[in-house]
Symmetry: C2
Subunit: 151 residues, 2 copies
Amino acid sequence: MHGMAPVKKATLEHTATFQLGTIGAVVSQRFAEKIEPLGLKPKHVGLLTLLAANPASSQLDMATAMNVAPSLVVRIADQLESLGAIERTRDPDDRRRQTLRLTERGRALFAECASITRDLEADLLAGLQIAERKALIAALRHVAGNLGLAF
Amino acid sequence: MHGMAPVKKATLEHTATFQLGTIGAVVSQRFAEKIEPLGLKPKHVGLLTLLAANPASSQLDMATAMNVAPSLVVRIADQLESLGAIERTRDPDDRRRQTLRLTERGRALFAECASITRDLEADLLAGLQIAERKALIAALRHVAGNLGLAF
DNA sequence: TGCAATCATTCACAGTAAGAATGATTGACG
DNA sequence: CGTCAATCATTCTTACTGTGAATGATTGCA
C-alpha cells in the first residue's frame, strides 16, 4: 500500500517561528469552530471585544484597531447588528460618525466568548505547571512586544 | 481631535489563547512579506519544506500532510515548477502518481527560506535569555501536543 | 475482462478582504 | 459667510484562497 510511510518533518519545525505560525492557525480555527454555533466568526468577536472595552467607538477607530479596511467593519457591524448584538447611532456631535455600542445581548454573547476562550485556554495549557504557564504567557508577551504588538 | 484616545485592550488579551492566535497571524504575515521577493508564498514554502525531508513524494501525500485539498497542491506544484524549484515525474511503478522532487534551484530556495526563518526567529526571541527561549519552545511543543499536532 | 477505486487535473464556486467611487457632513480659511 | 478640502460611512467591484464536483488516466481485484 502506498502513502503509509509517515511523512518526515523538517528542520523548520523546531523553530519558534514555525511553531507560532502553525499553533496560531490551529488555535484560531479551533476557536472559530467553537463560536460558530453562536453565529459568530473571529472578526465578530474581535469587534465585540473592542467594544466591551471601548463603548461608543466609531467604526473607523475600530477599523484601525483591528488592522482592517473600514469597509469590512461596515459588514461586520451589519451582521452583529442583525444579530442584535450591537446598536448603531449617529454621533450627535459629528453626524458623520456612527457610534457602536454593545446591547444586552451583545454583552451576553461576549461573555459566552470569554467563557469559550477560558475553556480553550485550559485545553491548550493542560499538563503545564502554574509556573510554566506564567513563564509561557510572559514570554509570549515579550515576543508580542518584539513584533510591535501592544498587549 | 477625534480618535486620539488610545483604544483600550480587553480581558481576552491576557489569555495565551488570544496571544497565540494574534502572534501566529502576525508571524505568518511577517514571514510572507520576507519570502515574497523570492516569488514564494507560505504554502509554497510548506511544500518545499516537506519535499526537503521527503523527496519523491506523491501530490496526494503532500495534500494530506499539508491539510489541504489535492487540487490546491496541483496549483502550488504548478507554480513551483514554473519557478524551476521542483520537478514532476510520473511514478513508473504507479503511473497515476506524480512524484515531486526538489531541483537544485528548489534546494537553494529552501535554504533561503530557512535563513529567513532564522532571521525572523532572532527578531522574535530578541531579549530573551537562552533558558527562556528553551522554555518557550518546550512549552510551545507541549501546547502543540495538546492540540494534536505532531512536532 | 470488466469494474470500482485511486490519483491528478480542470473547472466552477464560495468566502474573505481590499480598494475605488459615492454621498453626507464637517471644519478651516479666505 | 460660503466655498472647498478632508473625513466618515457606505456600496460596489475586484483579487485572491481554498474547496468540492466533474473528468480522465491508470491500477488492482473479483
